[in-house]
């Protein structure tokens, strides 16, 4: 079943003793066609899991690069229906790479929770991260999503203390996303040493794979985090490739080549460690 794609992915990587590379891109950015081409090219470039951003007018937890990408996508006529269509088209060629939708609650709420979950599951969506739905509101979407066979992946942050963590984990499945810094996407990352310590703290509470994200931009940074994390998430740096390119085609190619670099680094991480 589609919901187990994430579990199978982490199981396979555990056997290879390496971390997953999770790439975030905004659906519909720079336009539908190039966004779909990026999606299609990511697995071959080395992405193990794809987070697909659902554009929203008011992305309160995002920094400038992802805000801009969302605005551009929406201005180009992108919407929730088209995001799901993009996933459906991707699944025609790819049955194994997990896709996690990431976004804000309002577009899902307006689409209708039940209808959204039906359509997402049918399109081949494996999981969801909804930034503004804390565990206090699990009945809104998290519980129905799990019933529909879609993982609900929760964020844990530096402000999620030991008292709160179990509550955050209760309905989380697939993996846990550790946001390594307070702040919006695209802000600077703390030192790897600090993140490693935090991760140890979190692992005392869960056996779920833990992904680390926020502020990871380069291959060396990804390599460092991949030594101890179960997955490394890169988002703003990829989205910026598109913003900085002269053409849409160039942007697409730059996203895929950065993904290749990141993938190589993630694959190297623990072998380097074993040698040294």
């Amino acid at each position: 079943m589609s919901a187990s794609r994430i579990d199978r992915c982490f199981e396979a990587l555990r056997q290879q003793d390496r971390a997953a590379l999770v790439t975030f891109v905004t659906a519909g950015y720079p336009d539908y066609q190039h966004s779909a081409e990026i999606l299609k090219g990511l697995p071959e470039a080395g992405a193990d899991i794809i987070e697909l951003g659902m554009p929203f007018t008011d992305p309160m937890a995002d920094g400038a690069p992802i805000q801009l990408a969302s605005q551009r996508a929406l201005a180009g006529g992108h919407n929730t229906i088209k995001t799901l269509q993009m996933v459906r088209e991707f699944r025609e060629h790819n049955q194994h790479t997990p896709i996690v939708l990431m976004g804000y609650y309002n577009p899902i709420y307006c689409y209708g929770v039940e209808r959204f979950l039906d359509d997402a599951a049918a399109s081949g969506v494996d999981g969801m991260i909804v930034v503004d739905l804390p565990p206090e509101h699990d009945n809104e979407l998290c519980v129905p999503a799990r019933e529909a066979g879609i993982h609900f992946i929760r964020l844990a942050t530096p402000t999620t203390d030991a008292a709160r963590l179990p509550g955050v984990l209760v309905n989380t499945s697939g993996f846990l996303y550790y946001v390594s810094s307070t702040g919006v996407t695209g802000s600077a990352a703390p030192t790897a040493e600090k993140v490693e310590k935090e991760l140890a703290r979190i692992r005392e509470h869960t056996n779920l794979p833990v992904a680390v994200g926020f502020g990871i931009r380069t291959a060396p940074q990804a390599e460092r985090i991949a030594r101890f994390a179960d997955a490394v998430v890169v988002g703003s740096a990829l989205v910026e490739c598109i913003a900085n390119a002269d053409t849409e085609a160039q942007g697409r190619d730059d996203v895929l080549s950065l993904t290749r670099e990141l993938s190589a680094a993630v694959r190297e991480a623990r072998t380097t460690l074993n040698v040294s």
């Binding site: 929203f56 937890a61 309002n106 689409y111 930034v131 964020l155 402000t159």
Partner: protein, 417 residues
Amino acid sequence: MSTATTLRQGPDVNGFFGHFGGRFVAETLMPLVLELQKEYARARNSKDFIDEMDALRRDFVGRKSPLYLAERLTEQLGGAKVYLKREDLLHTGAHKINNCLGQILLAKRMGKTRIIAETGAGMHGVATATVAARFGMECVVYMGSVDIHRQQPNVQRMRLLGAKVIPVTSGAGTLKDAMNEALRDWVTNVADTFYIIGTVAGPHPYPAMVRDFQSIIGEETREQILEREGRLPDTLVACVGGGSNAMGLFHPFLDDNSVAMVGVEAAGEGLDKRHAASLKGGTPGVLHGNRTFLLQSADGQIQDAHSISAGLDYPGIGPEHAWLNDIGRVSYAAITDDEALEAFHTLCRIEGIIPALETAHAIAYVMKVAPTLPQDHLIVINLSGRGDKDMSTVLAAMDASAENAEKDAGKDVKGEA
């Protein structure tokens, strides 16, 4: 049949007023919001907190504010008797200071040293900058670039008071975008920063907390009208942006069934064109931490509001209003830019009071309905703020209409020729 129910108990433990409200925020902010809720619950029962607030309300803010019988307005309208609750006479010129004072005292209790705020008209920004100066705290105010342009005097005032005003250019550059940016600041600076939200919106406990701090308006009004008229008013009227001045006036009267209440939204260019009337023209959705009525597309994308008044130029409304509308306890009306401008001029000329453009929406509504009501009908308008900040907007509108009048006159001449 008598029932013991009260409409004044909300929200529930999760911050819901009926279906509306809640705490829809990112995980990073959740522990902060919960801590604030705990600390507020403690503070509101603390004698020290209450005493300090009372003293500052009296000596720093200038409470209580008068309840003023608008004799000439009443006479001109020829119907209901119109009272004005003079929040415009408070320090900083609007009701916003009531809330800022409460929140800065909380910030102090919680050991926070840095204050952030969003502002539309700039009245909340000025009030926040004022209390931050008074308590020696750093202050950063986010303000949309469009609003910075149309509310220049308030931008200058904030700077004089030592606040840093950060222009926000994302979106339409108005209040909603300023609030996004303030939330981004808060999620980044979690340790030392207190976010003073300026209206009855945001995640729980803000809607309830801001309402409580503003309820002094309704409490005083009740006392004053009983003293003057020996009975409760028949109708309360207030403008609604996020809805804090309206909640402050309405809340103490919610269980008095004889008292009707009307919240006045901004109809902008008209409800079929660009406007800011989320209840009259919106649908339920989730934004800025709560579920409420929003101006949005079918895809759940938030639309830009429009109002001549920066303080009403917001595509949402506080969740308690959404609920009060739902259960029919409060009714809501909408007033256009043009109607508000006309009411603005009327109050200037016949009462000698320059109201804020926000407030002018409430006055315009009363100018419509008062003539149809009997002379013993008592209306209280919340005169939420003064209009000095709106000079450039009003003068520009006067110039524009003078130009249009000239053009029309020109057309007539040509048509006749």
